[in-house]
Structure formats: C-alpha cells, structure tokens
C-alpha cells in the first residue's frame, strides 16, 4: 500500500467489480433487448413513438419534469400500491424504455407517476389546461404553471380551434386567446404516448384497463 502501482492496482480491481456488474452488464445485457411482435396489430411492442412525441421527450428532459415525476411502476411484491393507485396495470420492466432516449425513472414523487399518464388522462385539452394552470384542474397541486409553453395572442379573424377554454382569472381579455406553442403540443403528444398497458413476455397483464387516478 506504499507504492503507487500496488495501491493503484488494488483500487482498480476493487472498482472493477461494481463497474462490471452495474455498467458493463447492463450495457451488454439490458442494452441489447429488442422489441417483441404485437400479435394484435402486427406492429411491435413497445410501440414506436410518433415524431411529435420524440420531440416532446426533449421538452420533458429540459423542463426537468423528472425532478418531481417518476416513470416506473414497481413490482407488486415490494409495493402493491403503485398498481392499486391506478398508475399502471403491470410492473415496469427494462424493455418498456426501449424507445426512449433517456430513461426517466425519477427519484421523487412530488407529483404522480407518469408511466401510464396517457391511459389515465387521454384528453389533450385537459393536459393543456393543466400545464397552463395546474391548480385550476387539480386543487392543491404543487405543480408550477407552464404558461411559458403557451402564447397569448390577439384573435385574428376567427378564434383558433387550438385555443384553450380558460375560465375565471385565467381567461384572457376580450379579443385575445391562449394557444399552445409547438413545445406544448410536442410535450402533450409525449405525455399521451406514455401508455404501458400492453403485456410483454416478462410482464403479463393480469386484468385489463387501468382505473382512474386516485
């Protein structure tokens, strides 16, 4: 332990154990998982995201959604409640993240788990309203407003179909409308694409359909 080479080789070998197990193994094992065929639709599982959802994933990353939201439904032997709360119908497995560029597993649940938010809340209009002013649709929510993803503009001719139906204090003044920007549209497309309600070989679905969020 007094000569640098001896100390360095010891340090190297000790470090190699966790590096092999937790870095090399996942890269060579989990990193080579492939999609499985979907017998019902003829496509693959997990399904391929649309272009908007892929762009929305970047917004999810840059806005730091992962600071408060997890994306993992944990195995029932450890905690039953992820599934009982309606956050999913089966535990998440590594293959579920195949199409993602980053696995947003998360470490806090200041907000709800989002693995299946597209199943639970399939309405895009709800998401726009929620992003614009969260506590207007979820009383007591801790989520901040993402109004910077929206545009307040003067109505040119007819009111846009995309304009948000805001009421009360949020409603824009006469002659103005609030519309989602491209970022908001991509983000919502990504959120709606978060559906892991299909069975995978390693994670069969016991009962169909996720219940409402509690």
């Amino acid at each position: 332990m007094h000569r640098l080479p001896t100390l360095l080789s010891g340090i190297f070998l000790v470090f190699l154990t966790s590096w092999l197990g937790l870095v090399a193994y996942p890269v060579l094992g989990l990193g080579r998982l492939s999609p499985v065929a979907d017998a019902d639709t003829g496509g693959t599982l997990p399904p391929v995201y649309g272009g908007q959802a892929v762009a929305g994933q970047r917004i999810y990353a840059t806005e730091g959604c992962v600071s408060c939201h997890s994306q993992q439904v944990r195995q029932t032997s450890i905690t039953q409640t992820d599934i009982e709360r309606g956050w999913g119908v089966r535990p998440s497995v590594a293959r579920d993240y195949l199409r993602d560029s980053t696995a947003f597993l998360g470490s806090r649940r200041l907000g709800q788990d989002l693995s299946n938010v597209g199943v639970r809340l399939p309405d895009a209009a709800w998401h726009y309203k929620h992003l614009y002013h969260p506590s207007s649709v979820c009383e007591g929510s801790l989520m901040p407003s993402y109004s910077h993803l929206f545009l307040l503009r003067k109505i040119q001719g007819a009111r846009s179909d995309e304009a948000l139906n805001l009421t009360g204090a949020d409603a824009p003044k006469q002659g103005y409308e609030v519309v989602p920007t491209a970022e908001a549209k991509n983000l919502v497309a990504y959120l709606l694409s978060l559906r892991h309600d299909y069975p995978l070989p390693e994670a069969p679905v016991k009962k169909a359909g996720a219940g409402p969020a509690k």
């Binding site: 340090i11 094992g29 840059t62 806005e63 450890i78 993240y97 980053t102 200041l110 801790l142």
Partner: protein
Amino acid sequence: MSENIFPHHHAEEDRGTAETRAVDASVRLPVLVLFGNAVHWLVVASLISFILSVKLIAPGFLGGVSFLTYGRLAPMARDLFLYGWASQAALAAGIWLMARLSGRPLGGILHSTLLVSATVLWNVAILLGTLAIFAGYSTGVEWLEYPNWASAMLLLSFLLIGIWAVLQFDRRANERAEVAQWFLVAAFCWFPWVYGTANLLLTWKPVQASAQGPIQSWYCGSLLALWLLPVAIAALYALMPRLVGSHLNRRNLATLGFWMLLLLGGWNGMERLIGGPVPAWMTSAGVVAGVLFLIPVVIIAINLLGMSAHKSADKNSDVEEGVVIRFLRTGIYALISIGILGALCALPEISGALRFTAVTEAKTQLWILGAISFPLFAVLYESFPALLGRDCWCASLSARHYWLTFSGLWLLVGLMLFGGLFTGLALNDPTVSFLNITSYSYPFHVLECGAQLMLLAAAVILGLNLSRALAWDYLFPKKK
C-alpha cells in the same frame, strides 16, 4: 508523523517549519482559487435551494417564468452543490492535503499556472452548464444535466488538476504512506472513471434506455461514495491527529475500513431501484451493500474517534481551532448517520415504502451537506491561515457559520425524514388520494423553508468571512 506535517501553531511567527511553508507556497494560489470559487457556488446553490423550498409551499412564487420553474432550478441547485461546491472544495482539499502529507512542494511555477488555468476551466464549465439548464438545454439525466460540452470541459479540467494529486503521492518524502493518502489517491483516480463512464453512456452517446436505470443509480451512488466521501474521510484522517494532539493507532482498522468502503461504495445506491425495472439480483446486491456499508463507516468512525480519546492534556483553546475540530467531529457523526440511515433505507420493506418520498432527499442531503461538506469546511478553515500566513478568520463569523450549518442541516434532515415517513405511509394506502398526501406534507415544507434559510445564512456568512480574509490579504500582503 502527522504532527510534523501539521505542526501546532500558537503564534503567527512560528507557523510551521520552513518545509511546510514551502509546500504551502507552492499550492497557495490554486487552493485559494478553488476554495474561493467553491464557496461562491455554495452561496448560489443555497439561494436556489431556498427558492425551491418556497416554491413547494407557494407553487406560484416566481411563477410563469420559464427559467425559474421548479424543474429547472432543482437540477441547477443539485449540480451546483455537487460540482460547484463539493467537488471543487474536494479538489482544493485534496491538493492541499496531498501536498502537505507528501512533504514536497508542488514543483515549479508552471504547475501552479496549469492548476489555476484548469480551475478557471472548471468554473467556466459550471457557469455555462448552469446557464444551459437555465435556458432549457438540460440533458434531463439526473445529476448529469450539464450539456455534453460542459461535462467534457469538467472532465478535462479534473484530469489536469487531479493528475498532480496522484503524482504528488509518488513523489512523497515519507516512505510510509499516510492513511489519508490512500483515500485521496483512490478518490482522484475514480472521479474521472465514474464521471467519464456515466457521461459516455448516458449523455454523450446514450446507450439504449433499457440499460440506463442501473447506470444512473450506479453513478449517483459512486459519485458520493467513491469520490466525495473518500476525500472527506482523508480530511478527517489528516486533520484529526494534529488537532487532538494524538496519532492514529490501529492502522490495520483503517486498512480494513478503506478496502471495505471501496468495495461496497460502488454497489451502494442500487437499493434505490428496488422493485424497479432492473434485474432483481442488482437490487439484492444493492440491499446487501447498503446494509454492509455500515461496517466500514463504523470502523472508520471508531478509528477516528479513538484518536480524540487519546487527546493530550495540553488543550489549545484557540477559537479557530475550535471551529475546525467541531466541523470534524460533526463530520464523523454525519458519517455514522449516513451509515445507519443507509442501512435502514436499504431494507426492502422500508425502501419500497419510502423510496420516492423526502426520506431519499434527506439521505442525499445528509451525504452532501453533512458527511462530505463538514470535513471540507474543516480543511477550508484549517488551510487558509496556513496559506495566507496569518489568522485570517473572524472568529465570531466562523462560530456563527458552524452553528447555522449544524442546526440547519440537522433540522432539514429531521424534517425531511419525518415528512417523508408520513407521506410514505400515506402513499402506501391507496384509499388516500394523492392530492391529500400533498396537503399532509405542507407543514413540513413550511418548516423546511426555515431550515433552508438557516443554511443560506450560513453560506452567506462563510462567504463574507472568506471575502474578508482574501480582501485583507490583497490589501495588506504579508511580506515573505
């Protein structure tokens, strides 16, 4: 041995031998610049943390502005604590301790210039990386949010700085290596490996996301347990003997603690994926490592506390020394606490219930602000008088900094533990709605705000004390 390396100093005149003065002079500028920048990032990070805690009780606070949303500020604060403050202070502490322990001055002015340039690079990377998160260019990978070019700059800068610490070990004057030196060599070898691997596989050229979960957890665990904590432990081993006027006995205990800590450190952190989308053996290994991690921690703590038992009768009641030793002692207690808390949180039943609550955050805070920061503060308080050649600290500011950090940290951790326990129990009862759970945590969030304010005040006081010391040195330079 250690007593010669860190000689007692009672008066300004006989501060160390000519040898240690030469060593100090050779690393003076880089260490001052590293510590100075580290403290200023600590102030910024504490300010952002305080804003974040206010946002949890009033989500509309500073609302509607893209770059001030919780999702952008939270990773900014975390990264500033990790890379701006802790890693930079660890670099400073590592360079100074290694130079002192090796008993050889860092060769030539060239090295000093190189080190300072690398430090500038490090801080430019932190600044630009922080601004990038601010502007919405975060990678979204937890703890690795800096864009690729910023993380590459950090790695390059670390290599330029860290290489000297390792080379210094090889050039040391003493035949028998000090325990603290092992920890420093290990830490300085690992950061590039850990940071490089994680960035390569998660942000530079991301592997398929199905493999990212374990790598993310491994990175978070290793960054703390294999880079920052070993430097903090090295600081404890280097400074404790000199301050309590004793020497390290039971060196074999230290050897055991060293190798066990290193072996388990890399696996520590996998327990956070319990029940998650990774193979079960990985989380099982994490549980075992998390529980066993208590052993090296206790061994090291006993080893260190054993020294104070042999404290000499000659008590030095110097105020600054009081602060250094208090920071070291609290550091040891925080070290024991992370061992115990880590072992408890590794148990599947506890981890399953509390994993996503404030308990996880409490654990992280106790690591970063407690077991890691306290020994680093001690090195800061110890090194400045030696480097500046005078008693540069304002004693009352130092004492206030200690008490505010001490009470702020334990208050924050306690609140997060209790708050997390409540929300964890509620989360495990599916009849309680999620929004209800949010309302349970409200009182805890209010109190946490107070704790964050204390920590912010502590950081500001340290900043003032440090600016005062540096300004004094600049205005009235000490003649050689």
